[in-house]
Point group: C2
Chain length 226, copies 2
Amino acid sequence: MHRTKVRVVEDVLDANNTIARANRGDFDRHDVTVLNLMSAPGAGKTTLLEKALPGLEGVRAGVLEGDVAGSLDADRLAAVHVPVTQLNTDAGFGGECHLDANMVRSALPALPLADIDLLVIENVGNLVCPAEFRVGEDARAMVSSVTEGEDKPLKYPLMFRACELVIVNKIDLLEHLDFDMEKFDYHLDGVHPGVQRMLVSARTGEGLDEVREWLVRLASRTGAPA
Amino acid sequence: MHRTKVRVVEDVLDANNTIARANRGDFDRHDVTVLNLMSAPGAGKTTLLEKALPGLEGVRAGVLEGDVAGSLDADRLAAVHVPVTQLNTDAGFGGECHLDANMVRSALPALPLADIDLLVIENVGNLVCPAEFRVGEDARAMVSSVTEGEDKPLKYPLMFRACELVIVNKIDLLEHLDFDMEKFDYHLDGVHPGVQRMLVSARTGEGLDEVREWLVRLASRTGAPA
């Protein structure tokens, strides 16, 4: 039974990768760079995008907003004039805890690909399954809030390994927490040695310039291999 | 294809419920009350249990610690002399993002059921899938940290509906956040009208007496229907 389960999981991931490559072809045809942005619930992905995307130098950014239900985050991004498309996993996708390539494919017709250079896919808040499903992205980044504790890289190693950038958020709260940044760095290097990290407070704006520069550089490498 | 997917999901949940009833039978035979405790990653489940379980009046509590990987939380609980059994979903269960009845069943032989009155199953940190899988529990509670924002009941309605107690944690940080408790209550009542809630800081100990009393009352109703 265990072997059958492994086989089924492999088949699902194979099928997902095939659709992810098709998505990638469509993004490439429109010269759109795609970032898959992941985090636990409430880590601050939406606040980060609200603050960082409107100030991007020479890059037209759009967002595909993934949620189980509702359009709260999409509404927040629309309010700061970022083109945003809502994708709910409870609408025809069984309330899944992650986005997969097929869900993103279903949203392609609604995306303004001709009018943007960078598409940020804000994944469902979850530190497990989103890391397993490629959606056709060029890069993957995650937001880890210091309020979650410094042990998270050890508890969710696949997520921290899957990303090429770890944005450590809510550093304005550090003085009120027992969070030990050295320990976090040590754990992070244990699961993903040397991965790039940025310390930010999306709330106060601290560190956001570095995130914007990273996004601009990312957008300039359209067509690079995932 | 959509109909097939719904059918498969229903079959999986039916099979899960059958095993959950078997677990429940075993727990009942040992007069053990079971709480399924859920939250997002880093909301503070383990700190809450570290602080609340050693002081339980007349109730011998044990913990089944669910994690994708590692035994960090189990080690913390063992350090405060709470009997704890580790259950990792990456060991034979495909790194699942939740516990299910079959995983809990596999851990039964390792649980000291004859020596405890209350078993707290600390689920994998995730606000989506854990709510879908019964494991044989008497009750379900969740921890929601104020650092996650007041919109979470609207974004993860199934989780907030599935629980009979919502423990609002990290209230010692309220003065440093933009969190609006009235809005949170309003959203929570929108998805689960009148559900019991407790405001606590597992870190400072504020509000923990109320949690302990709730756990003692829960343990006294062994054998009540789920």
